[in-house]
């Protein structure tokens, strides 16, 4: 079967033949960077269109249908508009930090792409602490929001940033704990190990109820962490107009916008990797025939299918629920999600030690 590792080794061999190792490594890095940026752009376009279509259908509307066939070029037109718009910087803003914040947001999102396995053997960097790396780097996101809110010199932005800070810091706990419950079962932080451990069934099926519970807490926590409704207090438009990015316009706003969607993609990819087997096809125990049939579906399709399913769920939440209030938001985390995920982790650990999972 054709595989991505063949492609990667082919390029590597071709480059090392012609150039010295240092240069070829640089070229490979540049190639990887270009690939990630392309993926970014495509993801932004696809996810914005998807959000608009999903929301439209849920709201008994048609959604974008003018630009291109069935409106598929709508987000391209939006991007064009944002590109040519003037990027204003308020007079009293901290210019350096104000301009730096959107780039920090996008850099964080790019860094998070590294350990994600998009298909079989298609992974930029399979480092041995993959999951920990994701948890650690995604925390930097909050700093970009805080910088943006603080440097704008706007009270709405400031309040949005402060809300966001409180929110992301608290929800990281339960997100981390539910990630940890998978790590406990697998016994490794490496992304490829986690995926391989699901060759005979995904963790959400193998792990009994505790895994389902941690999956649900994970989805809720990452929805909050990415500032999506019903937890979009950082940009609650009816209260804070646009929250931390009130003062941003043009491409700087677009970068925040893009970072939000890419973050959604990343957390859903992580969720799919941890609980739904990443690129691993749907396998049931030792049913060899069934498993072989499933293997014929390309692994990248599996990965993107699962990820987009989770993205759809998060969008579904957004277009159904009202927003929480800040104290209720923190109550939900500290009084409900955190105790539940702690007990859950305990149960999972017991399960892992006693070997009760499949």
């Amino acid at each position: 079967m054709w595989s991505f590792s063949g492609l990667a080794t082919g390029i590597d061999a071709w480059l090392t033949q012609r150039f010295n190792p240092a240069l070829s490594l640089t070229i490979e890095m540049v190639l990887a960077g270009i690939a990630v940026i392309t993926l970014f752009a495509v993801l932004g376009l696809v996810l914005v269109l998807m959000e608009r279509k999903v929301s439209a259908w849920m709201q008994i509307r048609l959604g974008p249908n003018r630009v291109g066939p069935k409106g598929i070029l709508q987000s391209l037109a939006d991007t064009l508009k944002l590109l040519v718009k003037e990027g204003l910087t308020p007079n009293s803003a901290d210019k350096l930090l104000f301009n730096f914040a959107p780039f920090l947001a996008i850099i964080v999102a790019m860094l998070l792409m590294a350990p994600i396995a998009f298909a079989k053997d298609l992974q930029l960097w399979d480092l041995n602490i993959g999951v920990l790396y994701i948890s650690a780097v995604s925390s930097i996101m909050v700093i970009s929001i805080l910088i943006a809110g603080w440097s704008s010199n706007n009270k709405y932005s400031l309040m949005g940033a402060m809300r966001s800070g409180a929110q992301i810091v608290s929800y990281e706990l339960s997100a981390g704990l539910s990630v940890l419950s998978v790590v406990v079962l697998v016994g490794s932080l490496q992304v490829s190990d986690i995926i391989k451990s699901q060759a005979d069934g995904w963790w959400i099926f193998k792990g009994h109820i505790p895994m389902v519970v941690s999956f649900v807490t994970f989805i809720i926590a990452v929805t909050a962490e990415t500032n999506r409704a019903p937890f979009d207090l950082a940009e609650a438009e009816s209260e804070l107009t646009a929250g931390f990015h009130t003062e941003y316009s043009g491409m700087k706003f677009a970068l925040f916008f893009l970072a939000e969607y890419v973050n959604v993609f990343i957390v859903c990819a992580v969720g799919a990797t941890l609980f739904l087997g990443g690129w691993m096809p749907f396998h049931i125990g030792h049913w060899q025939g069934f498993n072989h049939v499933m293997d014929y579906i390309p692994s990248s399709l599996w990965f993107f299918g699962k990820t987009f399913l989770l993205i759809f769920v998060i969008m579904w939440f957004r277009w159904t629920f009202p927003r929480l209030r800040i104290d209720q938001l923190l109550n939900l985390e500290w009084k409900y999600l955190l105790p539940i995920s702690m007990v859950n982790l305990l149960v999972t650990t017991a399960m892992a030690i006693l070997g009760w999972h499949f």
Binding site: W57, M58, I60, W316, F317, T320
Partner: protein, 158 residues
């Protein structure tokens, strides 16, 4: 007990959220419920009710005759000064002078479509048209003269 109450609370909350999710999912999958009208595309089939108040017009018959006697009832009835009746004196064949309209000036930009002029008109000379696409680039175009050039009053309308 505390634990049962806690679990009940969580369960009730999850169930209330699930009903909402089910409702939006229903509409997500049932595209027949979509009620959007694609306006500029459906221009041909768009029918406005006959009472719709779009603008004031003065109907003329095929002999270019209208029913306006120039009595200025509409001008008096209008709360905004939208209508201005400019009268002249026609000389009848038998030599009598008769008051008739020269111009009936209608300022669409001032009109609130309140229908009071149509109600006030004793000879049914003006009525409301069902047009609604009034936007123009020059404000002057909104000042209209309702009677056609060269038109005259219909016979028998006093």
């Amino acid at each position: 007990m505390f634990i049962t109450k806690y679990i009940q609370e969580v369960w009730g909350a999850v169930r209330s959220l699930a009903t909402g999710l089910r409702r939006t999912m229903y509409y997500f999958t049932h595209h027949k419920e979509i009620i959007t009208q694609q306006y500029p595309d459906n221009r041909e089939t768009l029918v406005l009710p006959e009472r719709f108040k779009g603008e004031v017009i003065m109907p003329h018959d095929d002999k270019n005759e209208h029913r306006c006697t120039g009595c200025t009832a509409c001008e008096l009835a209008c709360p905004n000064g939208t209508i201005k009746v400019i009268t002249k004196f026609d000389i009848k064949p038998e030599g009598k002078k008769k008051k008739a309209i020269d111009k009936l000036v209608y300022h669409l930009e001032l009109c609130t479509m309140c229908n009071l002029c149509v109600q006030a008109c004793p000879s049914d000379a003006i009525k409301m048209a069902q047009t609604f696409e009034h936007s123009v680039f020059d404000r002057g175009l909104l000042t209209k003269i309702l009677n056609n050039p060269g038109s005259k009053i219909m016979d028998g309308v006093e």
